[in-house]
């Protein structure tokens, strides 16, 4: 005999399929929604449906968007001669938050990982090369993550773009703002020393 209402069990099962959500958290989320006003659940359901129905991928930069091309690719205010290559759409959000970059993006959809079987064909690398071959691009910033996979992906892409005559750059590595030098790790500190700049103060 089923003791819990089938609608509740169904929602618990759906929540439990989400990454990082175990059965207990799934139960807590379900009972939170059960006790909250119906309007809140409706807004959540609407947001989920809208996300699935309206969000697509920009066919130029492969960022997630509701319009194709995405607002960044369509904007005449952006410098389309500079492309910032990132691993994930979340990286675009992080860079946009800085308000320091006025160029365009290219989302690779991950990083090369030979051990996991993620090869060049699984990423948007050929699309990046085609985009650069279009001729408008002057600079490509390889903003993949500063770790082994990110460096590996950048090392794979760089020789493919070099023949196109574009300037290739990599994000600088160094110290985070507001920290104490004594707590910096050796790798970051040595890269920060290598990349030091003339002080004009």
């Amino acid at each position: 005999m089923q003791t819990t209402a089938p609608a509740v069990t169904a929602l618990i099962e759906e929540f439990a399929k989400l990454p990082g959500v175990g059965p207990k958290t799934a139960q807590r989320l379900t009972f939170f929604l059960l006790r909250s006003p119906a309007d809140q659940s409706r807004r959540l359901a609407d947001a989920l449906v809208r996300m699935k129905e309206q969000v697509t991928t920009c066919t130029t930069c492969f960022n997630i968007t509701e319009t194709d091309p995405c607002p960044i690719c369509a904007s005449p205010q952006r410098d389309h001669g500079v492309i910032c290559v990132v691993e994930e759409p979340l990286d675009v959000l992080a860079i946009e938050k800085t308000e320091s970059f006025r160029g365009a993006y290219h989302v690779l959809n991950g990083a090369l990982s030979p051990m996991e079987g993620i090869g060049p064909k699984d990423l948007r690398i050929s699309e990046l090369i085609a985009r650069v071959q279009g001729g408008e691009v002057r600079e490509v910033i390889l903003a993949t993550n500063p770790n082994y996979e990110g460096d590996y992906t950048a090392a794979y892409i760089a020789p493919l773009l070099k023949p196109q005559g574009v300037t290739l750059t990599r994000l600088a590595r160094g110290l985070p703002l507001g920290g104490d030098l004594e707590y910096a790790d050796e790798g970051t500190l040595s890269r920060a020393l290598e990349g030091r700049r003339a002080f004009e103060g």
Partner: protein
Amino acid sequence: MPTPHIYKTEGLVIRHTNYGEADRILTVMTPQYGKIRFIAKGSRKITSKLASAVDLLTRGQFVLATGRELDVVTQGVVLERFDHLRDSLWHATAGYTVAEALGRSLEDREQHDDIYALARDTLRRLDADAEAWLADPVPQNQAGPTARGWATMRSFELVLLDMLGYRPAFHRCVVCEAALQPVENNGFNAELGGAICPTCSRYGIRPLPLLTLKVLRLVQSTEWHALPVMRLDARTRDDVEAILQGIFALNLERSLKSWGLLGT
């Protein structure tokens, strides 16, 4: 070996997987505890002090606290980062192959300080080779591995097979046990464990040309630092690689993915 509540070990990160908001689950090869898995909380954050010590193919010193499911790393410092390896695509792929071969061939908590030393020394050699390659602009125009880098990887594979107990036989026929003659028409069968003489050729799965046999014998019987620089044609290199890959695929029950992606 029973592990205390807080313990310290050096280790080589051979795999890392993102977990939760900003954590990573690491697989680390250590000299004392063999292959262990632990969690590095918050290590994906830019400000994390652990981040550089828990990056892939970094050798670090770690302090770990025993956890209920996974041990937790509380401190980590970098001992070696093999920086040049990352700047050369071929060498970086070779690094992946070392990590994957260790990950797939060892059971958790099985102590192998000899295999740990082999992996560490192989990465050092690859790193030095990558440094020399990056410093010289002429070889950079050539695609593929350097002669020294290629020999380093084949030496790693043969020594690892030996340490795992899968040493292939290249001096005697694995069927009739007769001494193998230096002729062109020997054969090879990974399942039978090595080379096959022309008389037993019906057991051979693939041909074993004389030069391929000589290279395999030389690499198997020579310490890496005494290995001569071998300038081999692509066919012989492919042949040697295919034979070693066949032995790994048979014993690990699947091929190493890193090999196939870009070719090591």
